[in-house]
């Protein structure tokens, strides 16, 4: 009998920079200014994240899901996309949205509970998805639309390791495979789904190998290595545009809490955290740039100051935006307000209850 099991597949993680920032693979063909841009985007992302955490602690914004530790995965992947490509994020993709050109203030407004909601059609960013893995299906539909319209765009779903357990993830990959859609499933395997470690999430040795069930082309990449992520994503976009749907597992780590409502000390060790901090994506890229004489500490300080300033401005913009009121919620339920909503809105204004 020919039993199949995991030992039938080998998964090797693709890496260009090791933890110390040394090049371990072939030198990628990325111009210096692009390297610097990637790093600056990572700096701004981290500044956003740290400031957002502070603002939340001060009660100025609502629940927030920090992404510190995942900057390479987010920035590297987003930077490899074209303007026309479409992004379907979860709730943790602020760095992606920043790279796509979504104003930082918009993400602040979202977590402040503003009715403007999320999503940015200009940046080709779908709204934040709360329901785990649901966005993978929207990316499939979007890729399908592109294919149908013969537009050369890819659709990218961002999701987490935990999301790979949901039925929607499976259905999305299967639809993508059957229809040869230009879609990329970018899994940030940050090792945890709230308090559940990957080992309790799946008995599969890797997430990348899950693509085999659907005829997808898959890869595991070091998600803290911005160069490896960028190169992988570049290639993935090309393959996807040829009708080869792609699954990418970016191995990374969520250094902060799941959200500001979470206490990670309940479920994970200090040792684990500090081991992963050694692999920090910014540190690694900084070492590489300095080593290659593209960066120094002065520039680091300057860039950080610029980022802080931009963040202050974003916050000012957000708080100066008029607050939402009850009236706003009757909009956008339907294209045209129904008479029932019209009546409810009017009676709410008049302080009435009903007719």
């Amino acid at each position: 009998m020919n039993w199949i099991n995991e030992s039938c597949v080998t998964v090797d993680m693709f890496q260009l920079l090791n933890e110390g920032g040394k090049l371990v693979g072939e030198k990628p063909d990325i111009p210096d200014d692009k390297l610097l841009q990637l790093y600056k985007q990572m700096i701004f992302s981290r500044v956003f994240d740290e400031r957002a955490l502070k603002l939340q602690r001060q009660g100025r914004i609502g629940t927030y899901a920090p992404f510190t530790g995942q900057e390479a995965a987010q920035v590297g992947s987003a930077a490899a996309l074209d303007k026309g490509d479409w992004v379907f994020p979860s709730y943790r993709e602020v760095a992606v949205s920043l790279v796509r050109g979504v104003p930082a203030s918009q993400s602040l407004l979202y977590t402040m509970g503003h009715h403007s909601g999320s999503g940015d059609p200009d940046a080709h960013m779908f709204p934040v998805q709360i329901i785990i893995a649901s966005q993978t299906l929207h990316a499939v539909g979007s890729a399908w639309a592109s294919k149908y319209k013969k537009e050369k765009q890819v659709s990218v779903a961002y999701l987490g390791d935990g999301a790979t357990s949901e039925g929607d993830f499976h259905e999305a990959l299967n639809f993508a495979g059957v229809n040869s859609l230009p879609v990329i499933f970018f899994v940030q395997n940050n090792q945890w789904a709230i308090s559940v470690p990957l080992s309790s999430q799946t008995a599969s040795k890797s997430i990348a190998q899950k693509g085999i069930a659907y005829g997808l082309t898959s890869i595991q990449v070091d998600g803290n290595d911005v160069l490896a992520v960028y190169e992988t994503m570049k290639k993935a976009v090309q393959l996807a545009k040829e009708g080869k749907p792609i699954l990418i597992e970016a191995v990374t780590y969520r250094q902060g809490p799941h959200t500001t409502a979470d206490d990670p000390t309940k479920y994970r060790t200090k040792e684990e955290l500090s081991a992963w901090k050694q692999k920090d994506p910014l540190l690694r890229m900084k070492h590489y740039l300095i080593h290659n004489h593209l960066w120094n500490e002065t520039q680091e300080e300057e860039e950080t100051a610029i980022a802080e300033q931009k963040m202050t401005e974003a916050y000012q913009t957000a708080i100066q935006t008029p607050r939402s009121g009850l009236d706003d919620i009757f909009q956008n339920v339907y294209h045209k307000k129904t008479s029932n909503l019209e009546e409810q809105q009017n009676s709410s204004k008049r302080g009435e209850v009903s007719v």
């Binding site: 479409w86 379907f88 009715h115 403007s116 909601g117 999320s118 999503g119 940015d120 059609p121 779908f126 709204p127 329901i131 649901s134 993978t136 299906l137 929207h138 990316a139 499939v140 539909g141 979007s142 890729a143 399908w144 639309a145 592109s146 149908y148 319209k149 659709s155 039925g167 929607d168 259905e171 999305a172 299967n174 639809f175 059957v178 909009q331 956008n332 339920v333 339907y334 294209h335 045209k336 129904t338 008479s339 029932n340 009903s354 007719v355």
Partner: protein, 327 residues
């Protein structure tokens, strides 16, 4: 005009919209080569090809979820759920995704799409094929819900649904698919979503119903009118969400007696909302309690019993009698 049954009328609406608008595509299980298990999409694949009439893998959440993505990106997907009972598998995509995309994005995105599904009893299907679940979607802001009872309305409402800017759940009463035919224009036309139809004027009693129950109601009413000279108003609701409050309240005030007939289980059904609206806005016009003739509060029953379980002429007659005893 051509004489069509409901299957033909729905097929005609799909065909006509697909001819006019190449953003319209059909997707679902067995809708392509097979033409749907009820042949509603028969022939469409031959005309429009496998790119526009898509046999999907067996996954309801993906069917609706993919349609959301397509719709947001400018297509007009018409997704089929093979039987309404299977929509539970896609509830998140219906209620949290399609219904809320416009709202959650502050109006920046939307999901203009149609989800078609046969539903309803009396045709001896296996378990879970006959449930009437419209009430779940009445309770889901952002969705529209349409339930035609005639070929004419089916074609016109589906045309409106496909052209609508919001997600529409279009429910097709299985038992009526081939039950009867009527004149249906060959050209396209719209029947407005959100408008009930007074299919018969009356003064003594109002009966509100929709889908296949309408025909049971008509049968019952005929007997009463012929034998007792009673004047009964019949309202075919046609749209479950948004409800046509004006028509309902006007009729309630006029007749002072309202009965609601639906196939779904009674507790928490659409009949409850109608009774509540009337008791909120027209209670003092009422001569009699508002009665609901509906499925009993059990799971949809085994085929051997379904005819007794469904609202039938006998139960409606009994209720009319009871309501007339108040004056």
């Amino acid at each position: 005009m051509t004489v069509m049954n409901m299957v033909q009328a729905i097929n005609a609406a799909l065909k006509s919209e697909m001819l006019q608008d190449d953003r319209v595509i059909c997707l679902g299980e067995d809708v392509g080569r097979n033409g749907g298990v009820f042949r509603v999409t028969d022939g469409l694949m031959d005309i429009f090809g496998a790119e526009r009439v898509v046999d999907t893998p067996l996954a309801e959440s993906a069917i609706i979820g993919a349609a959301v993505g397509m719709a947001a990106r400018g297509l007009r997907p018409v997704a089929e759920i093979q039987f309404l009972g299977f929509i539970y598998e896609a509830m998140d995509q219906m209620a949290s995704q399609a219904a809320r995309l416009r709202f959650k994005s502050g109006g920046k995105f939307s999901a203009p799409m149609v989800v078609r599904a046969p539903y309803g009893g009396g045709v001896r299907t296996p378990e879970l094929h006959s449930d009437s679940l419209e009430a779940l979607f009445l309770h889901t802001p952002g969705l529209k819900v349409v339930m035609p009872s005639t070929p004419y309305d089916a074609k016109g409402l589906l045309t409106s649904a496909i052209r609508d800017e919001d997600p529409v759940l279009f429910l097709e009463p299985m038992k009526l698919y081939r039950a009867f035919s009527e004149d249906v224009p060959e050209e396209d036309y719209e029947v407005e979503i959100g408008k009930a139809k007074v299919i018969q004027d009356g003064n003594d009693l109002t009966i509100i119903s929709w889908g296949q129950s309408i025909h049971t109601v008509q049968k019952a009413v005929k007997e009463w009118e012929e034998q007792k000279n009673l004047s009964i108003e019949i309202i075919d609701l046609r749209t479950i969400a948004p409800l046509d409050l004006d028509t309902i309240i006007q009729s309630a005030k006029k007749t002072g007696r309202v009965m609601i007939v639906h196939e779904a289980v009674k507790s928490g059904g659409v009949g409850a909302e109608l009774a509540a609206l009337i008791s909120e806005k027209a209670m003092f016009y009422m001569f009699a309690p508002i009665l609901r003739i509906a499925g009993f509060d059990t799971p949809y029953p085994f085929p051997m019993v379904e005819d007794e379980w469904l609202p039938n002429v006998e139960r409606i007659n009994k209720a009319i009698e009871e309501m007339l005893s108040y004056s």
